[in-house]
Amino acid sequence: MDDQGCPRCKTTKYRNPSLKLMVNVCGHTLCENCVDMLFVRGSGNCVQCDTPLRKSNFRVQLFEDPTVDKEVEIRKKVLKIYNKRDVDFSSLREYNDYLEQLEDIVYNLTNNIDVENTKLRMEQYQRENRDIIQRNKAKLTREQEELEELLLLEQQGNEQRRLDVLQEEQRQLQAKRKNKQALLDELEKSQLPATILLAQHKVRAAQLETQIEQQKQAVKPTNLFSTGIHMRQTVSLQPVPKIEEVLYHYKPLHVEIDGPPVPELEQLGRLGYLNHVRAAMPQDTAGGYTSALACHRAIQDAFGGLFPQKG
């Protein structure tokens, strides 16, 4: 996968697989060390294309092909401006035209075609649709917030559950320990013989166990299926359409051979044909050959086409 090296120091990439490639806005890559060396002053020119660059613009390369990274960056920037959604358009056709525009712009900027004009277009669009852009930005942030809230809630729920389970376990452990302690105390203080005390202790331990088991089994009752349908709700789905077709009727294959009927392969022995055919040797039968096969073939050939064709 890493057969591309840093274009400047070339060797270091192979020798040091942990080294990362960084991409800039012009689409050319440099390894971390080279970036540090070249941009020690904060800004410089790209090695391959000589565009003025800043060190801060370097991002760790995510994709193998640096052009893809470049395009991803450009797309992010463009989408900040061109952020209309399908509900903003009155027809599908318009939405698609808009999307095509968007792609053209991204393509042009990525491949350095007509950069000036494209930038002008972008600025023009920005000016014209300023309020829509603002509105959409706001909507986007709102949506993102809502999503984040949901995620947070889920996380909290998970945490809560985990804590509950832990607490349960703790309690159970404690109960067991208390039981043991009680046994020891009783053995010390009580007048009853040790066997009876042990028996009582055993009973209590068993009771405790069953209690724990039951608690584990107790499922929290819900009233919602995972698809969102309520438990008691009767959902009426459309009945499966019944297709009435003619039943298939097997008709054995009939081949017109223009001749008298040929006896079946299995009947040949019974009818006496095989007496007049050379018997199969043991070597032949090993492969599955029987004399009936040759006989049948000869009879088929003899009877096929024997009668003149009709019509």
Binding site: V255, P261, L271, A298, I299, D301, A302, G304, G305, P308
Partner: protein, 319 residues
């Protein structure tokens, strides 16, 4: 099987006239081709007439049969039958003036060995041309390989040929099983075999299905031995009530026997005369096609040997 074979669909013709028409057309086609190419000094008499072509055809067919019978290792009958059928089919749509039968017949035999899975290597095959030196055999082999694709093409790629030998075996088995009236069907075998070999030399294979040919062979040999087999047809083959089919079958059998009777062995003097004519035609008109073949072989070089040496081996070399 025969009922859905290409032989039944494309290579069974309704009458001898149809077959003759096709041959006549092939002859005409060649004449027109030469006339169009505008060669000087060509008159009608240089071409072969239909009956002359027939004589030569029969002569070379005989040669093919002798070659196959003298073949080492022994060639099975079906291979021989297939080779003869290829030869016959090829010259239905081509004239012997265009492609010399000497080469075509060897190509037919060669192809038939391949198709019928009778395994002979090519060197073994040409090794059967006893009159040739090994170098000569090599040359023949080259020619065979050149013409092989042409042969397959002219057969319209229909390579499976149903011969009457297996139907004959089947009929004999059936006679032995179901027809006790006839005491010893084996006695019919020899003359039936001869009948089939003779039938292969006629157009019977192009007009009748092989099982009918086999039946005719058996009935013929039975009547020669003065044994009556009529009841076989009516009883065993179930044709008692079907007078129409029965009469049609007798008709076909009669036609076939006529065909066999009409066959005459080619006479040596006639053959020689026509052969000379053929050689002359080939020498004059086939130069262009052969030169082209040599040219593609040697990639633009001019043929080093003069073309005449190709014809060094003659018919006498074959037997």
């Amino acid at each position: 099987m025969f009922h859905n074979s290409s032989q039944r669909k494309y290579w069974i013709f309704s009458s001898e006239d149809e077959v003759e028409q096709m041959r006549y057309k092939a002859n005409q086609k060649f004449r027109n081709k030469i006339a169009e190419s505008g060669k000087p000094g060509v008159s009608e008499s240089t071409f072969l007439e239909r009956h002359e072509e027939d004589v030569l055809f029969r002569h070379y067919e005989r040669r093919l049969l002798d070659f196959c019978n003298a073949f080492k290792p022994v060639m099975p009958k079906s291979v021989v039958g297939t080779a003869i059928m290829y030869f016959r089919r090829f010259y239905l749509s081509n004239s012997i003036m265009e492609y010399h039968p000497r080469i075509i017949m060897l190509t037919c035999a060669y192809l038939s060995c391949k198709v019928d899975e009778f395994n002979v290597s090519s060197t073994q095959f040409v090794g059967n041309l006893l009159q040739e030196s090994p170098a000569g055999q090599e040359r023949v082999l080259e020619q065979i390989l050149e013409y092989e694709l042409l042969l397959i093409q002219q057969l319209n790629f229909h390579l499976v040929v149903h011969n009457p030998y297996r139907p004959m075996e089947g009929l004999l088995i059936d006679l032995k099983t179901r027809y006790p009236t006839l005491e010893n069907p084996e006695s019919l075998r020899k003359s039936a075999d001869d009948f089939l070999t003779q039938a292969a030399m006629t157009d019977a294979g192009l007009l009748f299905p092989p099982s009918q040919i086999a039946l005719t062979a058996i009935l013929n040999s039975a009547s020669r031995a003065s044994l009556s087999m009529e009841s076989y047809l009516t009883e065993c083959l179930g044709l008692k009530g079907d007078k129409e089919t029965l009469s049609k079958m007798y008709d076909s059998m009669r036609r076939m026997k006529t065909l066999l009777k009409k066959y005459e062995l080619p006479k040596a003097e006639e053959v020689n005369v026509y052969k000379q004519k053929l050689e002359r035609i080939h020498a004059e008109f086939s130069t262009s096609s052969n030169k082209r073949k040599r040219g593609y072989e040697e990639d633009g070089h001019v043929a080093k040997e003069p073309r005449i040496t190709e014809e060094e081996w003659t018919d006498e070399d074959l037997v």
